[in-house]
């Protein structure tokens, strides 16, 4: 027995050596070099190596089994040595097939070029009916993958014109470079997943019972569940408890940023999905999930799966008939860094945004965001009844109360200001509600605010459309799922097609909105809900939807209006004057590691972010500390009247907003966030770490440091005491003299 295993072991090592020699000898056959990178290709196989020239670290496109590794079944071995993972379907559009590069159905040719190679793939397949022996489906799938090295990055492109479907087979999805840099022996390291504020999935040291696998569409799922929208459905009869239950379904938070990364001790890479991000997923898997490799990749979707409800009892899952078109590309940046840090990738992405996407620093003052809720309609006997929480004149009094306390570095956001109040007349935004003071009242309010140098924003939305309001048809103009089923909450709320939102509403309305004299608008949902529309006539893919949303933003810009957005999808970055409703703590899986301030590392100092209203937080101390830690500016949502008036409306989650109750507490937050730490608003975050459990330090580029202590016990930081539930600011170069000192 012993002998046999020994022999086996020797054979295995020999095979391993053979493979390594084989690969290394062939790899030198083609090389492309820039000042930062050298890429060596193998002309027969697709395998390549990338060497970062400054440090000499090497990344392999596919891993090689080491002598200590477990032998893998063929299928997993095939997965490991493949540069793509293709899923496709046949003419019935119901089944799914998949294959790897090593399959005998795949044929490829490699064409070298100056800056890399092009690999043309052809897959030939046929499906034979088992009973009759007849060929049911046969056909070919063709595509190519271009590898290009430029400056400090590798770009992988699947050009649209190379994608061909001949015969009865159709593309569903392609995963690319799943095992780039995949490792099984590195102990210290993590996968960077852009969920929540950013998450690092640390490598597992001990083999776990179950694998860890995370798959998330970059801009969230292409579906909308009304029950998840708290603002729209909050109060219901006991019979509707099931609706309420559905609200508790947890969808993964959209990544929002088209980036992913692998951060190892000594070397790391960052992937940026440059084109085709609208229909792409990021998949991360830790060692122990199928194979013992940590890996992360991007997957491009060509056809989405959907469920067709044929009757109450019968449903079919099928794939869309039309293919999602467009170029697809991913860029990989490589770093060598002895410390285990995600700030280098974050800075690279920031540079990418500034250089490639032309994002400029917003010249905004640090400010506290004061949301003022004005009014909403509730169901009445014959028509809806308007419930007033704050009129425009009363809003002026609220502002005056703050100005009196010398709280002037604020922005004011009016919510529910339109005719019909909150969402009442959507998709129409104008005129301002006469019940609140009308256009005249609003203009007076704005004039007053401007005299105190306070900008005024109006909250609005381009997604929600309420049945019965003019300007749209619930048959033609709303977003539909496959099989022409409109997305609705079944009580009159629909989602407006982005094309209609732009062509019929934004184009006409925005010039009129500009005449109100306000500084800008806050657009809800625009930065986190991106949906395709399956209307038979005006079919919109997510990418096209996205383009219309961008056009809306451009229209605002043309008319001299600033735009703040809720949700932080990257396509809004060039236009956003700020982000609102940023949750201090995202909801997370209870086994997932804590968030990291990846968003803050990328955006802080470029675009300001405002938190969710802190007056609705159950633990304001904790949330306030988090906003300081992550460089998020605080928000509050107030009313002039006791919010008990809202208790029978669908806005009854605003249960604590009476402004006199909150003045003192807001002033305390203002002192911390604006008077003391406000100067950091334009400064980049360069480091963030946990000093001891519950105590975190954030370092800014100017040398400032903020230390927050979530615990109950005091913490001593360089001779300064950080009290439990408190924070400490160590001022840097750009601190105002006198300000900022603890």
């Amino acid at each position: 027995m012993c002998k046999i295993t020994a022999i086996k072991q020797i054979i295995r090592i020999l095979i391993f050596l053979l493979i390594v020699m084989n690969q290394t000898s062939n790899l030198e056959s083609l090389e492309v070099e820039t000042e930062y990178l050298r890429m060596s290709f193998n002309e027969e196989k697709v395998n390549f190596n990338i060497k970062e020239l400054s440090s000499g670290t090497v990344w392999r496109s596919t891993p090689i089994l080491g002598p200590g590794d477990r032998e893998l079944p063929d299928i997993l071995q095939a997965a490991l040595s493949s540069h793509f993972y293709l899923s496709y379907t046949d003419g019935e559009m119901e089944k799914i097939y998949d294959l790897y590069e090593t399959s005998e159905k795949v044929r490829f040719t490699i064409i070298p070029r100056d800056d890399g190679i092009i690999v043309n793939y052809t897959v030939e397949d046929k499906i034979v009916d088992e009973r009759t022996g007849k060929v049911r489906f046969s056909g070919k799938l063709k595509w190519s993958m271009e590898y290009r090295v430029e400056k400090d990055f590798l770009e992988v492109v699947i050009p649209e014109e190379s994608i061909k479907e001949e015969g009865d087979f159709y593309f569903i999805a392609v995963k690319i470079l799943s095992y780039l840099g995949a490792n099984s022996h590195t102990e210290n390291g993590a996968l960077l997943v852009p969920a929540g504020h950013g998450v690092l999935l640390p490598y597992i040291k001990k083999m776990p019972k179950y694998g860890v696998y995370l798959s998330m569409p970059i801009y969230g799922k292409d579906e909308f569940n009304f029950q998840n929208q708290r603002q729209l459905l909050t109060s219901m009869l006991p019979e509707d408890v099931n609706l309420y239950l559905k609200r508790y379904e947890i969808l993964p938070d959209s990544a929002g940023l088209p980036v992913f990364g692998m951060i190892d001790q000594g070397k790391s890479f960052l992937g940026i999905v440059d084109k085709g991000a609208s229909d792409a997923k990021i998949n991360a898997a830790l060692k122990g999930f199928l194979v013992e490799y940590n890996r992360i990749d991007a997957q491009f979707i060509f056809r989405k799966m959907y469920t067709a409800y044929m009757s109450r009892t019968r449903q079919i899952t099928a794939y869309e008939k039309t293919r999602i078109k467009g170029d697809r590309s991913v860029r990989y940046y490589f770093f060598s860094d002895p410390s285990l840090d995600y700030f280098k990738p974050a800075e690279k992405y920031r540079e990418y945004l500034i250089e490639e996407e032309n994002i400029k620093r917003r010249e905004e003052k640090p400010a506290l965001n004061l949301r003022i809720f004005c009014g909403i309609e509730k169901k009445g006997f014959l028509s809806n009844e308007f419930v007033t929480a704050t009129t425009f004149a009363e809003a002026r009094d609220i502002i005056a109360a703050f100005v009196q306390r010398d709280i002037t570095e604020i922005i004011v956001t009016l919510v529910g200001w339109g005719k019909g109040g909150y969402y009442g007349s959507f998709p129409n935004k104008l005129p301002p509600s006469p019940k609140l003071g009308g256009e005249k009242g609003l203009k007076e309010l704005v004039e007053y605010a401007h005299s105190c140098k306070i900008p005024v924003y109006l909250d609005t939305d381009y997604l929600i459309a309420i049945q019965g309001n003019s300007g749209f048809s619930t048959r033609k103009d709303v977003i539909k799922q496959e099989m022409e089923i409109p997305i609705t909450d079944n009580s009159g709320t629909y989602l407006l097609s982005t094309m209609v939102a732009y062509e019929r509403f934004a184009l006409k309305e925005i010039p009129r909105l500009a005449k109100l004299g306000v500084d800008g608008f806050v657009i809800n949902n625009l930065g986190d809900i991106l949906l395709s529309d399956h209307d038979r006539k005006n079919r919109l893919q997510r990418d096209e939807s996205r383009n219309y949303l961008i056009k809306i933003l451009q229209k605002f810009e043309e008319n001299g209006l600033k735009v703040m957005i809720t949700g932080r999808n990257d396509y809004t970055f060039p236009y956003a004057a700020g982000f609102q409703q940023v949750p201090p703590f995202g909801n997370r899986h209870y086994k997932a590691p804590d968030d990291i301030p990846f968003y803050s590392a990328v955006l802080h100092g470029l675009i300001p972010c405002y938190s969710r209203p802190l007056n609705l937080s159950e633990d304001m101390v904790r949330d306030h500390l988090r906003t300081l830690e992550y460089g998020i500016l605080p928000s509050f949502e107030l009313t002039y009247r006791d919010p008990v008036v809202l208790r029978e409306t669908s806005y009854n989650h605003l249960y604590s907003s009476y402004y006199l109750d909150w003045l003192d507490r807001i002033e305390a937050v203002y002192n911390d966030a604006v008077r003391r730490a406000g100067y950091l608003n334009g400064v980049q975050i360069v480091k963030h770490e946990e000093l001891v459990p519950g105590v975190y330090r954030t370092n800014y580029k100017d040398g400032s440091q903020i230390i927050v202590n979530y615990g109950n016990n005091d913490f001593n930081y360089n001779g300064k005491t950080v009290t439990g539930g408190g924070f400490c600011l160590v001022p840097g170069l750009s601190a105002k003299p006198g300000g900022g000192e603890n």
């Binding site: 929540g196 019979e239 997370r588």
Partner: protein, 686 residues
């Protein structure tokens, strides 16, 4: 073969991990129900602190744990059922004791006796109770109790166990055993305790009639509903939760086994499908020092909190993988020393740790004071709570109660008015009525002279109007329409004469006035809906919808007309449809008048004088019934007996018409569904 196996394993792993790692969603809050039954969001009572997954244990992580117990020193006891062991841990997570014993096969429940520190285990694998001392040595095994009352084939499978101050042992069994079994400390059977009376069941009642003595015992056991879990408080009350019953899901049993808790519905029904709504599956209960009762629904993993008066305080939790939710919550426990709250998650094999928010602590304190009758002391706390959640119904109730007390004490009308407003927000009609009565009393005392003066003036004016003005008007105006109106009112004092005139005149003459009556019938109804004072209006004015009100008023009435017409056609009635229409409309007149009176009265009466209100309502319906009956009698020329018979048949006819309508509707909609589905199928494949 080998390969297949690997594939199989892979697919399992894939499935499991796909479920296990769905992350991140939005902020979700807790909620409660208000008096009208709406779910209202409220601040969370507990903030998620941590998840303890016990993988650090040298002997391995938990596997399907079932029970959690925290003693007074904050030591944790976990029945790690899947691993056949009991764990005792310090609050810091240090393992203090690990009990494994060959007598212990499936430890489902555990209880630690505070006096002796002994650990009692309910083992449903070997079907006995075990008692260990603090060092983990087996002291005693309690086998299945023997008694004449317990039949031979009685399956004894203990799942939960509890010891009271008198050292009596209470056992809840799974399987066939029903109810709580009471044993003395020697393990001898003492009886069944605190049985849930099962709802009446006709077939069971029939079976009881013919059963033998032995069968009767069996039947009795069947009718005792399964208690699912229990706990004991400092005063010795035993709190029991029962699964799958419609009400009294929570009971507080005294030493005699009598329920002393507010009777009502607890937990939340869960919806399987639109037509399949199931009662809650409460599976675990815990009571803290302040008397806050926390229960867990094992099906939905939601957590409900109530106070000693049976008021709902919070609902939170649920099933999900996000923090603050559970995969499969099995047991809950509150640590009395730290205030921390623990949830044992069986599927994840760990403990979720929660910390109470400031809001929840205020609610507990105020609720404790309130239940002890210290309303005025609780007032400040309730007001603080309202500043954090202006919708919280219990806080409104607390404020109202205190204000109403203060109002009585200082004879202050403003306090009482404010109390009424808060009672209305809280949806408390009785409280409102009480404050209203006090307010009315004060008002009457202050303004007695004025009220008498106004009343006198009204009487004099009416007399003058009737005596002087009416004759003048009568003489001057001689419009036919007015005579119609007169005929309408004539039905009140001269019903037979009016009915005669309906019978012998053309019914088209009465058409307009009938329509007028129907119109005012609607108006009077709406006035009563909107105008009735809050304490008499047991409906929610915000839910009123014109379409439903119209159909509620007119559909039964119209079907009555049709049905009566058809029935009298068969039974030789003489009336035409027009006549039926007219007299049926005229018979609604008492409703118009008395409803308006009732609406006015509701602003004067308190709920203590409900008798007057009810009597008037009964009088109104009686009057209407008599008018309908005499209408049938006169118009169709029946004897009284015949009229009663035909009316009864007409009512049956109404039911039949509705039945037919429902049937037709069902058929048509099924047909429509069929064609829609067919269309969809064709559309899908084309």
């Amino acid at each position: 073969m080998q390969r297949k196996k690997i594939f199989f394993l892979c697919s399992i792993v894939l499935f499991l991990s796909a479920v296990a790692y769905q992350a991140y969603a939005q902020d979700i809050k807790a909620y409660i129900y208000d008096e009208e039954g709406y779910a209202v969001p409220c601040p969370r009572p507990y903030m998620y602190e941590a998840f303890v997954d016990f993988t650090f244990l040298p002997s391995g992580a938990l596997y399907n744990p079932e029970d959690l117990f925290i003693d007074k020193e904050s030591n944790f006891y976990i029945a790690d059922t899947g691993n056949k062991r009991i764990l005792k841990l310090s609050s810091g997570g240090k393992i203090l004791l690990e009990i494994k014993n060959k007598e212990m096969l499936k430890p489902m429940g555990l209880f630690v006796d505070e006096k002796s520190g002994d650990i009692y285990i309910a083992d449903s694998g070997k079907n006995h109770l075990l008692r260990f001392n603090t060092y983990g040595e087996l002291l005693r095994v309690y086998p299945k109790p023997a008694s004449a009352v317990i039949p031979e084939d009685f399956i004894y499978s203990p799942a939960k166990v509890l010891i009271d101050k008198r050292d009596l042992i209470y056992v809840i069994g799974t399987g066939a055993s029903k109810g709580i079994i009471l044993l003395d400390n020697e393990g001898a059977f003492r009886g069944f305790f605190g049985a849930n009376p099962a709802p009446f069941n006709f077939s069971r009642w029939l079976a009881r009639l013919v059963a033998t003595e032995e069968q009767k015992v069996k039947l009795l056991l069947q009718t005792l509903l399964t208690a699912s879990n229990f706990t004991i408080d400092n005063q010795g009350f035993i709190y029991v939760v029962t699964k799958a019953i419609e009400e009294d899901q929570i009971r507080r049993l005294n030493a005699l086994g009598i329920n002393t808790y507010e009777s009502g519905e607890y937990g939340e029904k869960y919806v399987v499908s639109k037509r399949n709504i199931k009662p809650p599956e409460l599976s675990s209960i815990d009571v803290n020092k302040e008397g806050i009762i926390t229960v867990l629904d094992g099906m939905t993993s939601k957590i409900f909190q109530y106070n000693q008066a049976g008021d709902l305080l919070f609902i939170f939790g649920g099933k999900s993988d996000s923090v603050g939710f559970f995969r499969d919550a099995k047991d809950i426990a509150l640590d009395g020393n730290t205030g921390l709250f623990y949830v044992l998650d069986s599927k994840q094999g760990g403990l979720h740790v929660f910390k109470p928010t400031a809001f929840a602590e205020s609610v507990y304190e105020a609720s404790f004071l309130y239940n002890n009758g210290e309303y005025e002391r609780a007032l400040d706390i309730w007001q603080e709570i309202l500043s954090l959640d202006s919708n919280y119904p219990l806080a409104h109730k607390g404020v109202a109660k205190a204000l109403s007390k203060l109002g009585r004490k200082f004879e202050d009308m403003e306090f009482l008015k404010a109390a009424m407003v808060h009672y209305e927000y809280a949806g408390d009609r009785e409280g409102y009525s009480e404050a209203f009565e006090l307010h009315r009393y004060r008002f009457l005392r202050q303004n007695l002279g004025l009220i008498i003066g106004v009343a006198m003036a009204v009487i004099v004016c009416t007399w003058l109007f009737v005596r002087l003005f009416l004759p003048l008007i009568k003489k001057r105006v001689a419009v036919p329409f007015l005579s119609d109106i007169k005929s309408v009112f004539a039905i009140l004092n001269h019903p037979f004469r009016t009915l005669e005139s309906i019978k012998y005149n053309s019914s088209s003459r009465f058409f307009l006035s009938s329509l007028g009556v129907l119109f005012f019938y609607l108006i009077a109804h709406l006035i009563s809906l909107y105008g009735t004072s809050f304490h008499f209006a047991d409906w929610d004015p915000n839910q009123i919808n014109l379409a439903t009100e119209l159909s509620r008023l007119f559909v039964p009435w119209l079907t009555w007309c049709i049905s009566n017409y058809l029935i009298t056609l068969i039974f030789d009635g003489e009336g035409t449809f027009g006549q039926i229409f007219t007299f049926s409309a005229y018979s609604l007149l008492p409703y118009i008048i008395i409803t308006l009176v009732l609406t006015l009265l509701s602003h004067v009466l308190s709920l203590n004088e409900m008798g007057i209100y009810t009597a008037l309502t009964i009088f109104m319906y009686g009057w209407m019934a008599i008018l309908f009956l005499s209408g049938v009698c006169r118009v169709h020329d029946y004897t009284l007996r015949g009229a009663v018979g035909v009316s009864a048949l007409s009512v049956i006819g109404v039911i039949l018409v509705w039945g037919a309508a429902i049937l037709i509707f069902g058929l048509v909609s099924s047909f429509a569904d069929f064609f829609i589905d067919l269309g969809r199928e064709i559309g899908f494949h084309v």
